[in-house]
């Protein structure tokens, strides 16, 4: 695909994505991924990153590993995935069945001024993921394609990568996820019931 190929309205995609969720655990990456997922409907089972660009996939992988009976979805931007491509190799190698990675690919570091990323040029992240052993990797250029692929993914063993070619529409400036990291952690773990686990697992 070229940079001129069709792109999906990002906030519309985020609303469609969030409305299709049931009890999945969502790790959403720094920047517009977080902003749009939050604005589309906040939920306690969303873990929002406030920094650590590139860490969304590793966090989601570790979570999937610890919670084999829960389904984990990572929502990341293309810039973040590019920063830590090795994480796709790890996911492909361990092949967690309960992990899907949704990449919001707008071909730009939009939040820092719209500098182009390499996906605006030569790089195709679905191909990269496939080369890392993530067989179920695809790209959606329309909302219909995204929705039908997401429906299939949520019913099928992973790992999956779904690259959504999104536009560069700005996020709602008022739509900011909770700012206090510790609250994000405690809310997520409290809802998941894992605060008890780490307490029980400790030496006490």
């Amino acid at each position: 695909m070229t940079d001129a190929s069709p792109r999906i309205h990002r906030q519309e995609l985020a609303r469609t994505f969030v409305s299709s969720l049931t009890d999945q655990l969502v790790v959403s990456g720094i920047g517009n991924a977080c902003n749009d997922v939050y604005a589309a409907g906040d939920r306690a089972l969303n873990f929002y990153m406030r920094g650590s660009m590139g860490a969304g996939v590793p966090i989601a992988f570790g979570l999937a590993r610890a919670r084999p009976n829960d389904y984990v979805i990572c929502v990341e931007g293309d810039g973040s995935v590019l920063m830590n491509l090795g994480a796709l190799a790890t996911v492909g190698s361990y092949a967690p069945q309960n992990l899907a990675i949704v990449i919001l690919d707008n071909g730009a570091y939009q939040i820092t001024g719209g500098q182009p990323t390499h996906t605006a040029g030569a790089v195709d992240l679905a191909h990269v993921a496939r080369g890392c052993g993530i067989v179920s990797s695809s790209t959606a250029g329309t909302l219909d394609e995204f929705t039908s692929t997401l429906d299939k993914i949520l019913d099928a063993p992973g790992p999956h990568v779904l690259v959504a070619r999104v536009d560069r529409n700005l996020s709602d400036p008022k739509a900011h996820q909770p700012r206090r990291p510790a609250l994000i952690k405690y809310r997520f773990m409290g809802r998941l019931g894992t605060l008890e686990d780490v307490n029980r697992l400790a030496w006490e």
Binding site: G51, G54, A55, P58, I59, A60, G62, T90, K185, W203
Partner: protein
């Protein structure tokens, strides 16, 4: 008992189950032994920063873990420690093998070896050094308790005085 087996016993006694490791000669034996023990979930990421992310995710999912790496890896992981583990109050134990000091033969290991403790200090991460075998259990157990009761990453540094370092 070898020092590396003592460390693994401390992990088991304190419910440290997820072990993420980046290749390191000094830690080879510990990584090998852990891999044969079904108690541990032993994972090998491509980079230390990725390892910290995996451990944070595992903790959110209810599992305590440790990162095994050499001191060069702390340079790769500094940002994610400062921007994820510390502010989100996510504990983990880091076992870091020390290069670049007593007995070092490789010039390029000295820089990060010297920067190890100042980097940890700058991130407000406490660190303790293992030099003697008879202190290993006490220091590792204490570091685990500190990390997982105060919800912070804590580092244990393996001195070449204990490990013998990496020889020519």
């Amino acid at each position: 008992m070898a020092w590396s087996d003592i460390v693994l016993d401390c992990f088991k006694a304190n419910a440290i189950q997820t072990l993420v490791h980046i290749p390191d000669t000094v830690l080879t034996e510990m990584i090998r032994t852990a891999g044969t023990d079904p108690y541990f979930d032993v994972l090998s990421p491509t980079r230390e920063e990725e390892g910290v992310g995996i451990l944070c995710g595992a903790y959110l999912g209810g599992r305590n873990g440790a990162l095994l790496m050499q001191n060069s890896g702390l340079g790769n992981a500094a940002n994610i420690l400062g921007s994820l583990a510390v502010p989100y109050q996510i504990p983990m134990l880091m076992v870091i093998s020390q290069r670049g000091e007593l007995g070092e033969f490789n010039t390029v290991q000295v820089g990060m070896g010297q920067a190890l403790r100042p980097t940890l200090d700058g991130l407000d991460i406490q660190h303790f050094t293992l030099e003697r075998e008879d202190e290993v259990a006490k220091i590792v157990t204490g570091a685990i308790k500190l990390a997982f009761s105060t919800d912070r990453p804590v580092a244990v540094i393996v001195s070449p005085l204990l490990s013998g370092g990496k020889s020519l």
